[in-house]
């Protein structure tokens, strides 16, 4: 008996037959399919009960209240607007709604990092412990104390207790070089300083205005607090037709704001301020101004009137702006005849410093019609009554530091006005003038991508010994850092959100950690406190708190003690109703009660100090609104009469028109964020395919200009400016006027993660920032460009 081939085949056949009649193959096939659904990398939803937590969005300075849906109190699954928050009234913008992509995105930094190789090489960035990281920084700071002034800090967040802690650290350490990223708020603050006497921010009572003339402001494209503006726009448009608010958009580009306005006044590039002065001239010459205000509460009106008559008659302004004379006269009459009417300034989203004189020109319109500190007009944003921290403890080094010239040159002989001039700082660092920058700290900012005219900044980095980033993300600046001290995102940390730009009443928002820390991050406020303690001496003594929360609470005690304002705890609050200085009955009875309610509702607001009376509003030498600024004289600005008056002073775009025949203007849109965080993938998806197609950016070109150059829709072109070259594709649109091409800013990241980087090109690389010679402010409204087909 022998097992031959046939018998073996039969055994196998029997086995196969039996197997087929058993569940084995069928079950295996089914289970293998299920198994393939459970590979470890596929996402699995958190299971558990849902809850909602209120907090405040910190992705821009808009200060919106958000409500985050959490599963099992640990996994955030949705961000929506908080209906009880007076700023956004439950609304949410695309950036805020995409916030979870930052919290859970792969560009998060998980531990402190130290660059052990060449800057920018991610391979040689080594994860280190917090103890090591703080020790490395403390040692460096101890060593360079004699050169303390060489410590530079740039914050992207302009207001709030954490930026204040950074400024405080530099002050105690002995450096005068605390800086913020440039923005229109700089020109605004300067303009307020020279015309009204107080640096601060301007608030517009837009909800009550009957006519709004926007001089280049992207009022529904991210200007001010974006959701608040959307809500205000909704209000303007929901009024019954006969009573609806009229919107005029003065802008070169046919933007979304222009298309949604009642009228788009397409001025020649960069001439918005000239049109404002043209309107002022008509209002003055026809006697349509507010005689009470101008007569009793202004200074220098005669000089201003003379200037207007000499330089800004409708004929002259028509020549500058390209707007017909009749239109200028008609617009001026309508503006003066509509009560209340208000003029807005700050281009686009308000990212560009721009010109103080442009600001003054526009605000002089508000002054002329008495729309200052009045319902429906422009006012200064009231201060939040936070308690001050104890004074910074100074030693010999910090006293010397206080008196050192600032690296950005502000308050110095050339630019005596109090403003931060980051572009000038970059220039001075590159020149080593007047001294070396030793170390740069970057907080909530990404200058290596977001700074317009970024090239000089990148060069300046080579001259700075150490770059320290406090970012939560691997952004372009952090990639270049020598030391990274990652902070938690806004959803994981406690931090105040001050009154947003453009708001007419005071707001104190509070972000809170809605879930536990996702990574080994430490709150930058706590990092500073720990670092100060480790340095000891006067620096340590200047940071007496155990942690950031204690420091913040100390300030909030002032809020409670003031007995002012209310915690916003019900939907439908409309703080702008009720006129000037409306007193609110506080709905908290002690600090503990206030804090508890702030944690629950995340917002306090107050209207009692909104819109001060004309008697008390101005702190200029004349105690009046100054058309002719004495304050400028006081701080040491020397020049002719023109220097002290609002006037149109165009800064010529960089580049010889013979070599660069076209003008390139950057623009901002709601669908693309402009830092410090990069556009989240959710938002990038909302871009049209004439804004971003694949990885290609588009430049907007007028069809006529394109035809002259032989360009068609979608053609690939190279944009060449004095600063550099970028490739993009052509989008033909009537929104671009002939001879001007437009490119959006905010795209073209090379940092972050694979879902974010490589989308489009970064316009900041080829823009050239120009400097105003009186104020030192930087402007990059236009750069001359040459376009060639590639």
């Amino acid at each position: 008996m022998k097992l031959d081939r046939r018998a073996f085949v039969k055994l196998i056949a029997g086995g196969v037959g039996g197997t087929l009649l058993s569940p084995l193959p069928w079950k295996m096939a089914d289970d293998t399919a299920i198994w393939s659904q459970n590979w470890f990398w596929r996402p699995s939803p958190e299971r558990g009960g849902a809850s909602s937590v209120n907090t405040v969005c910190q992705l821009c300075s808009g200060g919106c209240g958000v409500r985050v849906r959490l599963i099992a109190e640990k996994r955030a699954v949705n961000i929506d607007g908080n209906p009880t928050h007076p700023i956004n009234q439950g609304g949410i913008c695309p950036l805020g709604a995409a916030g979870l992509q930052y919290l859970y995105g792969p560009s998060r930094i998980e531990t402190p990092l130290q660059q052990t190789g060449k800057r920018g090489d991610l391979e040689t960035m080594k994860a280190i412990s917090w103890d090591e990281a703080l020790e490395i920084l403390a040692i460096k700071l101890r060593r360079m104390r004699q050169k303390a002034k060489g410590l530079v800090c740039v914050s992207g967040k302009r207001e709030g207790t954490v930026p204040e802690l950074f400024a405080r650290f530099l002050h105690a350490y002995g450096s005068p070089n605390y800086n913020v990223m440039p923005a229109a708020a700089d020109a605004e603050s300067l303009g307020l300083f020279v015309s009204q006497g107080n640096s601060g921010a301007l608030g517009y009572d837009l909800e009550n205005a009957k006519m709004v003339v926007s001089f280049g402001s992207g009022y529904i494209e991210g200007w001010g607090s974006p959701n608040r503006m959307m809500m205000a726009f909704g209000g303007w448009r929901s009024n019954p037709k006969r009573d609806r608010t009229k919107i005029i958009q003065v802008e070169t580009r046919g933007s979304l704001s222009a298309s949604k306005a009642d009228e788009w006044v397409a001025v020649a590039p960069g001439t918005e301020a000239a049109l404002a002065l043209g309107l002022a001239q008509v209002i003055v010459s026809e006697g349509r101004y507010d005689r009470t205000f101008v007569g009793q509460y202004t200074h220098g009106f005669d000089e201003f009137r003379r200037l207007l008559r000499q330089n800004y008659t409708p004929k002259e302004v028509a020549e500058i702006t390209g707007v017909e004379k009749e239109k200028i006269v008609g617009l001026a009459r309508e503006f003066a005849g509509t009560k209340p009417a208000v003029a807005l300034s700050g281009w686009g989203q308000g990212r560009m410093q721009g010109s103080m004189y442009d600001f003054l020109a526009v605000q002089s319109l508000n002054a002329l019609v008495g729309s200052l500190h009045k319902p429906g007009g422009a006012t200064t944003t009231p201060q939040v009554p936070l308690a001050p921290w104890p004074k910074v403890v100074l030693d010999a080094t910090s006293l010397t530091g206080e008196n050192e010239p600032r690296l950005d040159g502000s308050k110095g002989p050339q630019f005596p006005l109090p403003v931060q001039l980051f572009h000038n700082l970059v220039k001075n660092v590159n020149e080593g003038n007047p001294y070396q920058a030793e170390m740069l700290w970057v907080y909530e900012a990404n200058p290596a991508h977001d700074l317009a005219d970024v090239q000089p900044f990148l060069e300046a980095l080579d001259k700075i010994g150490t770059l320290v980033s406090f970012s939560s993300f691997m952004d372009e600046t952090t990639q270049l850092a020598d030391l990274v001290l990652p902070g938690p995102t806004y959803l994981e940390r406690l931090e105040d959100a001050p009154t947003p730009p453009g708001l007419q009443y005071a707001v104190f928002g509070l972000s809170q950690p809605i879930l536990s820390l996702q990574f080994e991050t430490i709150h930058p406020g706590d990092v500073l406190i720990q670092l100060a303690k480790s340095l000891g001496g006067n620096v340590g003594a200047s940071f007496p708190w155990s942690d950031y929360e204690t420091a913040l609470k100390e300030r909030v005690k002032g809020l409670a003690d003031s007995g002012r304002g209310q915690v916003a705890d019900e939907p439908g609050l409309q703080p702008w109703k009720g006129g000037q200085g409306r007193q609110l009955a506080p709905n908290y009875d002690s600090f503990d009660d206030l804090w508890e309610k702030l944690i629950e509702h995340a917002c306090w607001f107050d209207t009692s100090e909104a819109m001060p009376s004309w008697e008390s509003a101005f702190t200029t030498p004349s105690r009046k609104f100054e058309f002719y600024s004495q304050k400028m004289r006081q701080v040491g600005i020397r020049g002719n009469d023109l220097t002290y008056l609002p006037h149109f002073k165009p800064v010529e775009p960089a580049g010889d028109p013979r070599d660069y025949p076209l003008l390139l203007m950057p623009y901002e849109t709601m669908a693309i964020t402009n830092g410090p965080v990069a556009n989240p993938p959710f938002m990038t998806k909302t871009l049209f395919d004439f804004q971003l197609k694949g990885n290609d950016s588009f430049v907007e070109v007028n069809p006529k200009t394109a035809a002259d150059m032989g360009l068609k829709e979608g053609d690939r072109v190279a944009l060449q400016t004095e600063r550099g070259k970028l490739n993009a594709r052509v989008h033909l649109t009537g929104a671009a006027r002939p001879d001007v091409v437009f490119i959006p800013t905010g795209l073209g990241h090379s940092g972050f993660d694979s879902y974010i980087k490589g989308k489009g090109v970064n316009a900041n690389v080829i823009l050239v920032a120009q400097q105003d010679q009186v104020t030192g402010l930087a402007t990059w409204w236009g750069t001359r460009v040459k376009i060639s087909k590639v």
Binding site: R6, S22, P23, N38
Partner: protein, 188 residues
Amino acid sequence: MTGENKQQNSGLLGWLLFVVGFAGALFVGWVVFPQLLFSTKYQPINYNHAIHQEEAEMTCEDCHDFREDGSYAGKPKLEQCIECHEDPVGETEAEQFFISEYVEPGKEVPWISYTKQPDNVFFSHGAHVTLVEMECTECHRNVEKETTAPAVLINRLTGYPNEIMKMYVCEDCHARENISNSCDVCHK
């Protein structure tokens, strides 16, 4: 032996082997394979459903409840157990173990689910129990008489328990009750 016999023997042997293979495969497929495929796990506590229903007169919903928003909470949390079992109620060994191991240290009991649905299925208990008032036992085994917690058989390949409901069961019922069987009813 003749050549013919050889052939006959070989043929017989062949068929015998066929039967051996066939039976062996059936045995492996029906008996060995299921034992290999499933691992046996025991609940951390030998929970007695019967005693809770009979003596304490509790209903399913007392422990397996719905949250305020209508979603189903699933397995009970320790705090629900503590409402009665902060101190021993009975004298069983299981209860003593439960109190010393979980109640006193305040540790959640890691109950093992008998019917965990895959993540790609959106199943709402609310829709089935609250809205159309189905009985728990229409889908789950009846635990009323269970005095011990049965072992949970976990599929080694998929990680799911063996009592998992297959898609055709859902579809059959939906078809019978005239409920849509379109993909996105369950796969969101």
